[in-house]
């Protein structure tokens, strides 16, 4: 049985459709990253799983249970990290953590968690005086103190400096090896690439791609070579020289429509060498997750998605 399952979920806020038929499942003990631009429906999906909202249609299950109807059975087994706030502003970090520990039958020792998340130095500091990264780490501690079987982490690395991100990465890997199922939402594609067993990319309330990071990075990447360079290169001249169409995807980001073979690469690099182009990077065959993400959630397609969902709404209403 999947630890989490979302089946054709639709969530409407009045006339606005926030989630428009999302389905995915998370196997026990794995990490799934929900990736998408702002307003894609990530938080709404997570909050439906957490029991904060009811599906307009479709079903969600957490550990096989309905998070709204079976709330009392679900909440002791899940840990939730909200995107922001949610803590008594005047209460010191250590006291908040001890208070939350008292809600659960078998909590982690609060002092151990403070150590693990590098919060011992601010244990007596009230929440409102913590830095953004410290607040995020305390929120994470609050999500974990009850030894959850499933942890929901909404934008866990927001506001964290690189050191705190490494702590977060280590904690997530540790949880995974303890068999905890983790659903995280993020903007940080690198984070998803490094931490997640599976990635679901959502945009405009729908799933636009799903799979392991490797699958996604391989898909559709075989017939193009990408490179970064100075913006405004003469694409037509380059295309003529290498024998394949060249497009400037974003300023300074070029896509060459050629199979990623060694000879094609050699021709491209030779031409770039001739012109003495300062190349930032060349990627062939295997895209970075970021390329996949940007390709799938590019603005025109998102706008198209919105138009079509508006059409659907008119049809429904």
């Amino acid at each position: 049985m999947a630890a989490l399952s979302v089946d054709d979920l639709v969530v409407r806020y009045g006339p606005r459709v926030a989630v428009d038929g999302i389905s995915f499942a998370v196997e026990p003990g794995t990490v799934l990253a929900l990736l998408g631009p702002n307003g894609a429906g990530k938080t709404t999906t997570v909050e439906t799983l957490e029991g904060y909202r009811r599906p307009s249609s479709g079903t969600v299950r957490v550990l096989g249970l309905d998070p709204v109807a079976d709330r009392a059975a679900v909440v002791p087994r899940i840990g939730v990290m909200l995107q922001q706030g949610g803590v008594y502003p005047t209460m010191p970090a250590g006291a908040v953590l001890r208070l939350f520990a008292s809600y659960y039958p078998h909590p982690v020792a609060p002092d151990d968690l403070l150590d693990r998340l590098d919060l011992q130095a601010v244990a007596r500091t009230p929440w409102r005086r913590l830095s953004g990264g410290e607040q995020q780490r305390l929120s994470l501690a609050l999500a974990l103190v009850g030894r959850p079987e499933v942890a929901f982490l909404d934008e866990p690395s927001a506001g964290m400096d690189p050191a705190a991100r490494r702590v977060l990465g280590a904690v997530i890997r540790g949880l995974r090896s303890d068999g905890v199922t983790i659903l995280l939402t993020t903007h940080d594609i690198e984070e998803a690439e490094k931490l997640a067993d599976a990635v679901v990319i959502v945009d405009g309330g729908r799933v636009v791609a799903a799979g392991t990071p490797d699958d996604l990075m391989r898909s559709g990447g075989g017939d193009e070579i990408r490179f970064g360079g100075p913006p405004g290169l003469d694409a037509a001249a380059l295309a003529a020289a290498v024998g394949g169409a060249v497009a400037e995807d974003r300023p300074g980001e070029y896509v060459v429509s050629l199979a990623a073979t060694p000879s094609n690469l050699a021709r491209l690099t030779a031409r770039l060498a001739e012109q003495d182009v300062a190349v930032a990077d060349i990627r062939a065959g295997r895209q970075r997750l970021e390329d996949v993400f940007l390709r799938l959630t590019a603005r025109p397609s998102a706008a198209e998605g919105e138009r079509s969902s508006r059409r659907r709404r008119r049809g429904v209403g």
Binding site: V80, L82, Y104, G146
Partner: protein, 242 residues
């Protein structure tokens, strides 16, 4: 049970650590009591020997109102605004558990208020007498009524609006609540209005129980009981957690 006890402790700690709520819970009542018991400017009703005999029960009613209505409303409103109530929704602390912890915290703060105000009033010459049981019943009903009103505001309005409205109501009910000014001194329309408000019902009930040894007027019980039922029911029906 452990969750509830820890939550109740935390609620008490937060109230007693908060400067504004301490000022409201203790500072203002002690100041009003001492000032008006020593400076004889308020109209005391006929037959009152000493102003403190009239003031002390009224100030106790004020103390109950400040904790149940104002402190609870403002604290809960901001907790809702900060997303604390939402966050607690995914912990095993149930909503009834949270509510019970808040009620315990209000009662504990009221005990502290009584422990401070009664000796101050006694120092000013107050000799409470009579019906402790009916005074206790009045305080409990008043606590439920005012807490219900506080939660009604906190659960439906923006925290800033709750703050403003709670303070405004506090002032209006202080003046119309028979706490400093006897209802008999109010002009007709205001007096009629005041009689159906919970503040005057509570101070009348406390004054009758603790002071003049008369039976609490039936009207006061009816008004108190009505608010103690209506306010929490309205709060429960309209409370939004996020």
């Amino acid at each position: 049970m452990r969750a509830f006890a820890a939550q109740a402790r935390a609620e008490v700690w937060m109230t007693l650590r908060n400067g504004e709520s301490l000022l409201l819970a203790l500072g203002i009542p002690v100041l009003l009591l001492t000032f008006f018991a020593t400076v004889d400017v308020l109209p005391a009703p006929d037959g009152t020997e000493h102003p403190v005999d009239f003031l002390a029960p009224g100030i106790l009613a004020l103390a109950v109102m400040s904790t149940g209505l104002v402190s609870l409303a403002i604290a809960t409103g901001f907790q809702r605004g900060y997303g604390v109530l939402k966050r607690l929704g995914t912990t095993p602390l149930s909503r009834p558990g949270l509510l019970a912890a808040k009620i315990v915290a209000v009662l504990v703060v009221e005990l502290v208020q009584v422990a401070v105000l009664v000796p101050v009033a006694a120092g000013l010459g107050w000799r409470p007498s009579g019906a402790m049981a009916s005074a206790l019943a009045a305080v409990l009903l008043g606590t439920v009524a005012f807490s219900g009103l506080g939660l009604l505001m906190a659960g439906a309005l923006k925290p800033e609006l709750t703050l403003a409205l709670a303070n405004g109501l506090y002032l209006v009910l202080l003046l119309l609540g028979g706490m400093l000014v006897p209802l008999a001194s109010l002009p007709g329309v205001l007096r009629t209005l005041a009689k159906v408000l919970p503040a005057a019902a509570l101070s009348d009930a406390l004054r009758a129980s603790l002071g003049d040894g008369l039976a609490v007027p039936g009207r006061a019980w009816v008004v108190l009981l009505a608010w103690a039922v209506a306010a929490p029911v309205a709060a429960a029906a309209t409370f939004r957690w996020e």
